[in-house]
């Protein structure tokens, strides 16, 4: 926490001087992606305007990042895991209008992801779909939805599946309750859960961001793990936007907008796909089709309305997640 704060202060100090510095406040797993994208955009911007651009990147948990911006970290753009976090910036700090999500195409989510299963080599417990996760001898690893944005996507994906298959809310509740009874460890963040599953050898299946799962299968020893795509999962839409008050103050409005729009360009989409995010562009998706497992996806809006109501119903104090553990 303190580290992030100091980092933020350093970034803050440096943005105050050069107007062509852009601060992108993001969440943990986008580090590699934005490093690559920033370079590409700087080149593109230089060619277009002749202006040099410097980027500052800040990464931490999505909620913690939103709090930093609310408390005064002067982000030019925010690229977070949940629109709930950006909503909070709009609501609590009034740094951007509440309709921010309609300002860019595709709900302001230039790339998407989903929730998949990571299992050990050979899939010893023969896990094929969500139903296998509630069997009594299966251990499921997921982070804590109270502290992790990724874990909230996991929870909603499981809920959406159960609701579709078993029709009633009560049965869906019963389903996720049984699922969470199979969870031996609740880490506070997505990376922590990956470590628990991969390094400590705990659990039979990890619920993970698709991009994290792909990264794990490639970086942590090929052949040790494999991805299982469930029959149905959630379309995770990590949103991006510029922070109006801050870009006006820094005089970076134009470049911040161009930066985010460039995420939708052919090059931006390709870099996203290379970093295991699902691109919105049809032809780039076609090009990288093989790396993404085939999953039927539902949107958060179609089942839960919006993040505000989902957060309230499931994850706030006394919500469904608390009820699972208080019985």
């Amino acid at each position: 926490m303190q580290k992030h704060l100091t980092l933020g202060l350093i970034l803050l100090a440096s943005t105050a001087h050069a107007s062509t510095t852009l601060l992108n406040v993001s969440y943990d797993p986008t580090r590699e992606f934005y490093q690559e994208f920033n370079q590409a955009f700087a080149k593109h911007w230089k060619k277009q305007t002749g202006q040099d651009l410097t980027f500052n990147q800040s990464h931490a948990g999505s909620g913690a990042q939103a709090r930093a911006v609310i408390d005064g970290l002067e982000a030019d753009v925010v690229t977070l895991a949940l629109s709930y976090d950006i909503d909070s910036i709009a609501e609590k700090a009034k740094l951007l209008p509440e309709n921010w999500q309609s300002r860019l195409a595709y709900n302001s989510s230039p790339y998407t992801s989903t929730i998949v299963f990571l299992v050990r080599k050979g899939n010893p417990k023969n896990i094929k779909d969500w139903d296998d996760l509630v069997k009594p001898n299966v251990q499921v690893i997921t982070p804590n939805p109270k502290t992790s944005g990724g874990a909230r996507w996991n929870f909603l994906a499981a809920w959406g599946f159960a609701l579709k298959k078993y029709k009633t809310e009560d049965k869906a509740k019963d389903f996720v309750t049984r699922l969470f009874k199979n969870v031996p460890v609740l880490d506070s963040g997505a990376r922590g859960s990956t470590t628990t599953f991969v390094e400590r050898g705990i659990g039979d299946v990890l619920l993970a961001w698709e991009n994290e799962a792909l990264l794990a299968t490639r970086e942590l020893g090929e052949g040790k793990f494999q991805i299982v795509a469930p029959s149905l999962s959630i379309l995770a839409e990590p949103p991006v936007t510029w922070v109006d008050k801050n870009v006006q103050k820094h005089g970076t409005e134009k470049v911040a907008k161009a930066y985010l729009n460039y995420l939708y360009s052919q090059e931006g989409q390709e870099i996203a796909a290379k970093n295991y995010y699902r691109p919105r562009s049809k032809n780039i998706l076609a090009k990288y089709e093989k790396q993404f497992p085939k999953v039927k996806l539902f949107t958060l809006q179609s089942v839960f309305g919006n993040w505000q109501s989902a957060q309230k119903k499931f994850f706030n104090d006394g919500g469904l997640f608390d009820q699972i553990y208080q019985k």
């Binding site: 948990g61 909620g63 913690a64 939103a66 709090r67 609310i70 909070s88 609590k92 804590n144 109270k146 502290t147 969870v183 031996p184 460890v185 609740l186 880490d187 506070s188 922590g192 390094e199 400590r200 050898g201 705990i202 957060q311 994850f315 706030n316 104090d317 006394g318 608390d322 553990y325 208080q326």
Partner: protein
């Protein structure tokens, strides 16, 4: 031995007013303002709302976990910290100096590093954990794991409190007691223990107060299961993730008050210890 200094005109310390002013200012800036902010934030909750935050089963369970494991680990450290201090003071052996410095290691190490290291050791796949697993002992991801992490963090507090006092007791006292016919047990119980007891209690409260607030080492090893191994600091982080600042500060205030009471107690004990040494 102790000379009573009579305050003459003015004060003993040169620049008394200046230093006092500086001390108060510094305390205000570094300690009182941040802590005051905590109370101000909590004050926006009504009493009923405050108790509603504190008295939910999940929060109460986490208070039990936090205070319970801190208490157990502090008690463990009292016993083994005393033995460690005893060995370091009374015996000489090879590598005593490096071993003595090693005691401070938990002070210096980032607690998250301690937590990650302990977890990888004690997890069922770890060096130690794989031998505990067949015995049916679950070390990582259980209350035992929390106690072990807190014991690691708390050790130096007991050792460093007891060590100087034990040094001051001196071997002569023991020898005198023995020459008067006291047994080893009597010497320890009636001569040494009364001398070091206040220091031991101080070490206990310090270790307890420190480990109650521990976050970094515990979140990795505890498994963070609600109602079972969830600690209060984790709940605070959870509240912050919901942007529920006031509820988070309410929990923080409870922790703060408890820690403050403990530290008051510790200070009191310390002064007791000093008085004892002064008069002996």
């Amino acid at each position: 031995m102790l000379q009573v200094l009579k305050p003459s005109r003015g004060h003993i310390l040169p620049g008394y007013r200046l230093t006092l002013f500086y001390t108060l200012f510094y305390l205000l800036l570094i300690v009182l303002i941040p802590l005051g902010g905590l109370f101000v934030k909590t004050a926006s909750l009504s009493w009923t709302a405050f108790w509603e935050v504190i008295l939910t089963p999940r929060v109460l369970a986490s208070f039990r976990v936090t205070f319970g494991s801190a208490l157990v680990s502090a008690l463990i450290n009292v016993v083994f910290g005393l033995v460690t201090a005893w060995v370091l003071v009374r015996y000489s052996f090879p590598f005593k100096r490096p071993l003595d410095s090693l005691i401070d290691f938990p002070f210096a190490l980032p607690t998250a590093v301690a937590g990650i290291t302990l977890t990888s050791l004690l997890a069922p796949s770890g060096w130690v954990g794989q031998h505990l697993e067949p015995l049916g002992i679950k070390a990582a991801y259980s209350p035992l794991g929390i106690v072990l992490a807190l014991t690691f963090i708390g050790l130096p507090f007991v050792v460093r409190s007891v060590q100087p006092v034990l040094e001051a007791v001196g071997k002569e006292v023991e020898e005198a007691a023995e020459s008067l016919g006291a047994s080893r047990g009597q010497v320890f119980l009636r001569v040494i223990l009364p001398e070091i007891l206040p220091a031991l209690l101080t070490g206990f409260t310090l270790a307890f107060a420190r480990t109650v607030g521990e976050y970094g080492s515990v979140i990795f090893i505890s498994g963070n299961m609600p109602m079972k191994t969830e600690i209060v600091p984790l709940l605070i982080v959870g509240k912050l993730e919901q942007f529920d600042y006031t509820a988070a500060t309410a929990l923080a205030v409870v922790m703060l008050v408890v820690s403050f009471v403990l530290l008051l107690l510790s200070n009191h004990l310390q002064s007791l210890a000093n008085r004892r040494l002064g008069t002996s």
